[in-house]
Amino acid sequence: MKHTSPAAKAARILTGVLKYAMLIGLSFIFIMPLVWMISTSLKPNQGLFVTPIEWIPKQPQWENYVKIFRQVDFAQYIQNTLFTSLVPVLGALLTTPMIAYSITLVPWKGAKIIFPLILSTMMIPWQVTQVPLYITWSRLHLLDTYFPLVLPWFFGTPYYIYLMRQFMKGLPNSVIEAARIDGAGEFRILTSIVYPMCRPVLTTIAVLVFIACWNDLNGPLIYLQSSSKYTIAVGLKSFMLAAKTEWELLMAANTVFTVPLIVIFFLAQKQFLNGISTTSGLK
């Protein structure tokens, strides 16, 4: 491969240039909508409909952000969303390791039945359970509360159990066996050996659950009725109906909705991408 005739060298430089041109071009395409979102959010309403497009507004309208907090109770929505996202994180962190431990490191017959069952529930469309669950929550008089949104997260979610299992399978079994021989109780093994070793995957799960809840539209949409309880997603939905052509306000709200996740992404990028790529090893 390493023949360095001038022609080959020129060809290599050319492919290098082409490669970077393509990478930069693609990056441009991927990032443009987000830049456009922020740019729009800082424009006056009349400024939206001018051609050619003004990418950097001459006078950034920071008031747009003040306006959305004034027109709708955005601060309340953010607070609510933090609640409906953080409680599920707690739930997932509490029970996912237990369940994964049971199917990975406890030698019992049930594991062989439960694990395939967990995987197969991933194939059940949420629409199938949605209607009966709605009826049940309504019978329990828990509509318009956060219970339907947060409680299910305390009972293990297939995808995260799977992620956790993949990780636990890679733990050195000898450590756990040694602890057992030393007479440590299983609960103790779980809390003082397995939990600390699982820190990377626990972070991944925390981040993924937080994002899933932050983004969720469907749950809040059907379960929350009073606007004081809205999460950002439903709040944004009703705001959309009110502010149809005020794109600068819609994009400002959209930016407020999106930016926390981007911050989290940059803080926890490694865990994030690791967690996602673990899924590929479905063997």
Binding site: A111, M122, G185, L217
Partner: protein, 321 residues
């Protein structure tokens, strides 16, 4: 781990346990630790699925008690215009949208797998749209694809192409959603990327020595080696396409007037199966009928998943570990 020996010994040291006692102990432990999932499965999966079957045989609007009507909901559903439309729009996403999305994600993964300076930065950029909430992406794309003021049509106009009316022309609404999904392909691409990285390099080296070019290498080595991942993505993709909801829901809000029932987009081109289901359940409170729709969806997804597993199993190469 010297501290381990300091841990309080239970009076029954495992070594002293009889095999059957040990087995029984682990049985109860396993059951105990798995119990959150078991309870959750019964309460949030199995029971709702069974009651979906039950409600599907009734007429129920949440105010009066369910009234048993046999298979009437199913008879009403067959040949219903919206069910048919919903199915064909959803099938379009499965048959056209999914292959486009998967191919695009694969190309992105191949690009991310090339060696270049600053690749981590490029990967981050390609992944970023996936972080944007689905709902926010949909709202953003309503603006990006705006036929008069959006950036896509402005860009097309600058090179002399008159862009289509993405959001109002029924032939372009679904492609718009597919374009948006491709923009958000990050997590799919990262999964492909991990698979690509797991292909042992010596296979390529051996092929090179045998004179294979890149194209042959891709089809004869890369594709077979990552075929389990492709299969996994296809199956999960099919399931998620059948559930296509949020993006279309947001798009449809802009075509219907406020206060109206959930819309179906221009000429009902975005009336997906689950949009119709949502409308029946939560706009009209036809809980029995909506349950019948849910049961049919469940059966369709099961059958399609099963068939595609069967077909794809023949194409997948599992490596010997």
């Amino acid at each position: 781990m010297s501290t381990m020996t300091a841990v309080k010994r239970t009076d029954e040291a495992p070594a002293a346990l009889g095999a059957s006692r040990r087995k029984r102990k682990f049985f109860w432990l396993g059951l105990l630790f798995a119990s959150p999932w078991i309870i959750g499965f019964l309460a949030f999966q199995l029971y709702p699925i069974c009651s979906a079957f039950y409600y599907s045989l009734t007429d129920y609007n949440m105010f009066k008690e369910p009234n048993f009507i046999g298979l009437k909901n199913y008879r009403d559903l067959v040949g219903n215009r919206y069910v048919r439309l919903g199915l064909s729009n959803t099938m379009f996403m499965v048959i056209v949208g999914l292959p486009v999305l998967i191919s695009f994600a694969m190309i992105m993964a191949l690009i991310m797998n090339t060696r270049a300076k600053g690749m981590p930065l490029f990967r981050t950029i390609f992944y970023l749209p996936n972080i944007v909430p689905v709902m926010a992406s949909a709202l953003l794309f309503l603006w990006v694809m705006n036929s008069r003021y959006g950036i896509v049509n402005s860009a097309l106009a600058s090179i002399g192409i008159r862009g289509p009316s993405w959001l109002n022309d029924p032939t372009w609404t679904k492609p718009t959603l597919i374009i948006m999904d491709c923009w958000r392909c990050g997590s799919m691409a990262v999964i492909f990327l991990a698979a690509l990285k797991s292909v042992p390099n010596n296979l390529y080296e051996a092929a090179r020595i045998d004179g294979a070019n890149r194209w042959t290498c891709f089809w004869r080595i890369t594709i077979p080696m990552i075929s389990p991942t492709i299969q996994f993505q296809f199956i999960m993709g099919i399931i998620s396409m059948f559930q296509y909801f949020s993006q279309a829901f947001v798009f449809n809000m802009f075509t219907g007037a406020a206060g109206q029932a959930t819309g179906g987009g221009p000429a009902n081109s975005l009336l997906f199966y689950s949009i119709n289901l949502y409308r029946e359940a939560f706009d009209y409170l036809h809980m029995g009928y909506a349950s019948a729709l849910a049961v049919i969806l469940f059966i369709i997804v099961m059958i399609v998943t099963f068939i595609s597993l069967r077909i794809s199993d023949k194409m997948v190469t599992y490596d010997v570990e």
